[in-house]
């Protein structure tokens, strides 16, 4: 069984004309897999490498640089919540918010709740300091968060 679906393969191929090298499609391909599978498995790395005419180690080299991608031994939960702790958010309670969520969910940053529903991550400035403290859920920002409103967003 292939890790990349036919749809993903078609989407990767759509990118071929956009760049002068196939290697440039590394990040778009990794995002497709991470989004769909919540991690990038070794098999997926090999299949991407195959399509982009690279060695799997080249894909892995890039993948491992960006903290965003998860390897197969550490997939994320169903949802992934990032709480910002850079200076503007810290000044308005970002660290306290994180500590409260750790306490409520019984996990530490980087971990997933026991029921596999939520992964809690530490973020650096999310570009929404006007709404500090803020969070990223998936790839959508939410501003002016409290522990209660984070939980509502995660449920919703």
């Amino acid at each position: 069984m292939s890790e990349l679906t036919d749809d993903m393969k078609a989407k990767i191929r759509e990118h071929f004309g956009h760049y002068p090298t196939k290697q440039a499609i590394t990040l778009p391909a990794l995002h497709m897999v991470q989004d769909a599978k919540r991690c990038v498995s070794n098999k997926a790395i090999e299949e991407i490498a195959d399509m982009l005419e690279l060695a799997p180690s080249q894909i892995n080299d890039t993948l491992s640089f960006y903290g965003y991608f998860r390897t197969e031994d550490a997939p994320t939960g169903e949802k992934r919540v990032w709480i910002c702790r850079s200076l503007p958010c810290m000044l308005r309670g970002g660290e306290e918010l994180l500590a409260e969520l750790c306490e409520r969910w019984g996990i530490q940053p980087g971990q997933t709740t026991a029921d596999g529903k939520v992964t809690l991550e530490l973020a650096e400035c999310l570009g929404a300091c006007d709404g500090a403290p803020c969070m990223l859920l998936g790839d959508e920002l939410s501003l002016r968060m409290t522990a209660d409103s984070v939980e509502e967003h995660v449920k919703g």
């Binding site: 956009h18 760049y19 002068p20 090298t21 290697q23 440039a24 499609i25 590394t26 990040l27 778009p28 990794l30 995002h31 982009l52 080299d61 890039t62 640089f65 960006y66 903290g67 965003y68 991608f69 990032w82 702790r85 850079s86 200076l87 503007p88 810290m90 000044l91 308005r92 660290e95 306290e96 994180l98 500590a99 750790c102 530490q108 940053p109 980087g110 530490l122 973020a123 650096e124 400035c125 999310l126 570009g127 929404a128 300091c129 006007d130 709404g131 500090a132 990223l136 998936g138 790839d139 959508e140 920002l141």
Partner: protein, 444 residues
């Protein structure tokens, strides 16, 4: 022009219904600038942008027209434009709001800039966290292709251009222009040793221009209203300093931290931090006073309360010991906050985001964080302050020990905190207090 009579330029269309659509942009006269530019020669557009005095809004303040003219002449093969939408400098969110609210204003500037530089492909590098921006931009780009504003023979001219959106993966260093290029190429975002500069050898080893999102939005208005209009705003160049390029045009100031009304404010370059805080951000919160203010993103270091009348133009923050104007992201810190916690936060950020290529940056950012952890745990020594100073004076492109400016950005918060708040830091160390902030596991 006084600040009181200033009419917003870049934010003029914000909060209008449907401001992101092509129809509403066109109804407000959008893409007239592009039509105008396509009737000019490429050299004329570059000369116009040069004459306006526009300087890059991404942090370094490099004159935009001059950057464009560094591209090699009479070459064959592609030239690339990379739009820097990585926006990750703590305190900065102006690109996000520009893209969410008025993407066509930015895209029009990009097409004009690409025409002027003869680029036939533009890559819009957008940080991954801006998912909403990504979808807004994709919709706007699709509308442009459908309306003949992108693709072959734009508006019936001989000029053709494609724009591709490219999403990052949550790393600050992708904002450094050569880190961005490496990341675009599918590699780890390790900044390149310069020279060669991107204008000579950039993306895919071809001549490349890298510009910020706000810079491109300014280009749209310069073509529409002219260089003289742009120069009617801001601070003129210092006639006694031949190296001063002046600070012209409108600027988006991001205000965050301990103010009553955090948000985005547009004013002519050169407003003071005090005016921004008191008049435009509702003052410091809870009736308190400011203790320190970051003038342009955490990399620029700190101003003290006494320095708040400094004009925030390209030259102002440097006169009070800061690194520069940076991204004009003003972060206000009130007098109830410990500078030890603030400095720890800054050091931790850079230790987390250093790409690790250069030993002085990788080790210096990690050790400065460890020293501040020690101070925060109540076990600091007075000699730690000199140790921090030594680290901060030996990392960066200014002392010449690193490849990119991230390390200078890591040094400046340390230098300015010690120069301006040394008695507070010493008192903290002597007291042996522990920080009241929550202990977070895996904090860096």
């Amino acid at each position: 022009m006084t600040n009181a009579s200033f009419e917003p330029v870049l934010l003029a269309r914000i909060n209008k219904p449907d401001s992101a659509s092509l129809a509403s942009y066109k109804a407000d006269g959008g893409y007239a600038g592009l039509r105008k530019a396509l009737d000019m020669t490429q050299a004329q557009v570059i000369d116009l942008v040069k004459a306006s005095g526009l300087r890059g809004r991404g942090g370094a303040g490099f004159p935009t027209g001059m950057k464009w003219s560094f591209l090699p002449q009479n070459i064959t093969g592609p030239i690339y434009m990379c739009i820097n939408g990585d926006e990750s400098e703590p305190g900065t969110f102006n690109n996000r709001i520009l893209i969410e609210e008025d993407p066509h204003q930015v895209l029009e500037g990009i097409v004009i800039g690409c025409y002027a530089t003869r680029a036939t492909t533009a890559y819009f590098y957008l940080r991954y966290e801006y998912g909403h921006c990504y979808r807004t931009l994709q919709k706007a780009v699709d509308e442009m292709y459908a309306a003949g504003l992108l693709g072959k023979n734009i508006l019936g001219s001989n000029y053709s251009l494609d724009i591709h959106l490219h999403r990052g993966a949550c790393a600050y260093i992708c904002g450094e222009e050569t880190g961005l290029i490496e990341s675009l190429e599918g590699k780890r975002a390790w900044p390149r040793i310069k020279p060669p500069f991107p204008a000579v050898e950039g993306a895919f080893r071809r001549p490349t221009v890298v510009n910020n999102v706000e810079t491109m939005a300014c280009v749209t208005h310069i073509v529409n209203r002219g260089a003289e209009w742009f120069q009617s705003m801001g601070i003129a160049k210092d006639p006694n300093n031949p190296r001063d390029a002046g600070s012209y045009g409108p600027k988006l100031y991001c205000i965050s931290g301990h103010v009553n009304k955090p948000g985005l404010v547009e004013l002519p370059l050169g407003v003071t931090a005090r005016e921004l805080i008191d008049k435009h951000a509702g003052g410091v919160w809870k009736g308190r006073k400011a203790k320190a203010v970051v003038p342009g993103g955490i990399s620029m270091g700190f101003m003290s309360e006494a320095e708040l009348d400094t004009p925030l133009d390209f030259a102002g923050p440097g006169r009070v010991g800061c690194l520069g104007l940076g991204t004009a992201a003003v972060i206000v810190i009130d007098d109830h906050t410990s500078m030890v916690d603030v400095l720890y936060n800054a050091c931790r950020f850079f230790a987390h985001e250093s790409c690790g290529q250069c030993t002085p940056c990788r080790e210096g950012t990690a050790w400065s964080t460890k020293i501040l952890e020690r101070i925060r745990s109540g076990n600091g020594k007075l000699s730690d302050i000199d140790l921090l100073l030594e680290i901060s004076s030996s990392i960066g492109t200014i002392p010449g020990t690193t490849i990119c400016g991230l390390a200078d950005g890591a040094a400046w918060p340390i230098k300015t905190a010690i120069a301006k708040f040394r008695p507070e830091l010493e008192e903290y160390i002597r007291s042996g207090r522990k920080s009241a902030a929550p202990q977070l596991v895996g904090a860096h």
